[in-house]
């Protein structure tokens, strides 16, 4: 079996026309990721919104700094822990996105706010 070639086509991010499912666009909301302004759909998991914006690395593992991202999608693993509105270790694969949310990548285990 020879080498598989074929370039990677620019990704069509949001599914607009789908033969079976209709994704009538939900309410669009704005949020920030590490200071950058991004758009998403109200109520969709933060990870889905990040993914739609091309963000796939959600954290680095605290022990050996390995890149981690969306994985189990049912809130059972520790791959998508981010700091949301100041609270660390939020599972963004199940946490619904809301208008104005501040989403940040964590350094190591994440900082607990003590103010």
């Amino acid at each position: 079996m020879g080498r598989f070639t074929g370039g990677l086509r620019p990704s069509k991010v949001r599914l607009k026309d789908h033969p079976i499912l209709d994704f009538s666009a939900g309410q669009e909301v704005a949020f920030t990721f590490d200071g950058k302004k991004l758009k998403g759909i109200d109520g969709e998991p933060i990870a889905a919104a990040l993914h739609a914006n091309g963000v796939r690395v959600l954290r680095h593992s605290p022990v050996s700094g390995r890149a981690r991202g969306f994985f189990c999608a049912i809130g059972n693993c520790s791959s998508c822990l981010m700091t949301v509105d100041g609270v660390p270790n939020v599972r963004v694969c199940t946490e619904p996105l809301r208008e104005g949310m501040v989403v940040e990548t964590q350094k190591g285990h994440g900082q607990l706010p003590i103010d």
Partner: protein, 98 residues
């Protein structure tokens, strides 16, 4: 810790929460840690936020092959509450909405 022959997949990640590799697990088994509980306690594999959901089966299989028993005979640690991490503030709030 005595060592044993390196194998190609030794640096594959088994426990994603604590970055424990297959090589780490094999070294512990070679050094006499023959239960999942002992391996958990000394390497932290299974102590992370997912409470071993991913790694416990992989460790059980590695133990089964190393000890020459079937996976069925490997004693599995139990699961304890909570099934997923829950905020202390949520517990303290209880039913109330405030």
């Amino acid at each position: 810790m005595t060592d044993r022959p390196e194998r190609i997949d030794d640096d594959v990640i088994v426990c994603r929460c604590e970055d424990v590799t297959l090589g780490d697990i094999r070294r512990l088994i070679a050094n006499g840690y023959h239960t999942i509980d002992e391996i958990k306690r000394i390497s932290r594999a299974g102590m992370g936020q997912c409470q071993g959901r991913t790694c416990r089966h992989l460790i059980a299989r590695e133990l089964a092959t190393a000890l020459g028993v079937s996976v069925e005979e490997v004693e599995m640690p139990t699961f304890r509450p909570p099934t997923r991490p829950v905020l202390l503030s949520t517990i303290a709030r209880g039913e109330g909405d405030e």
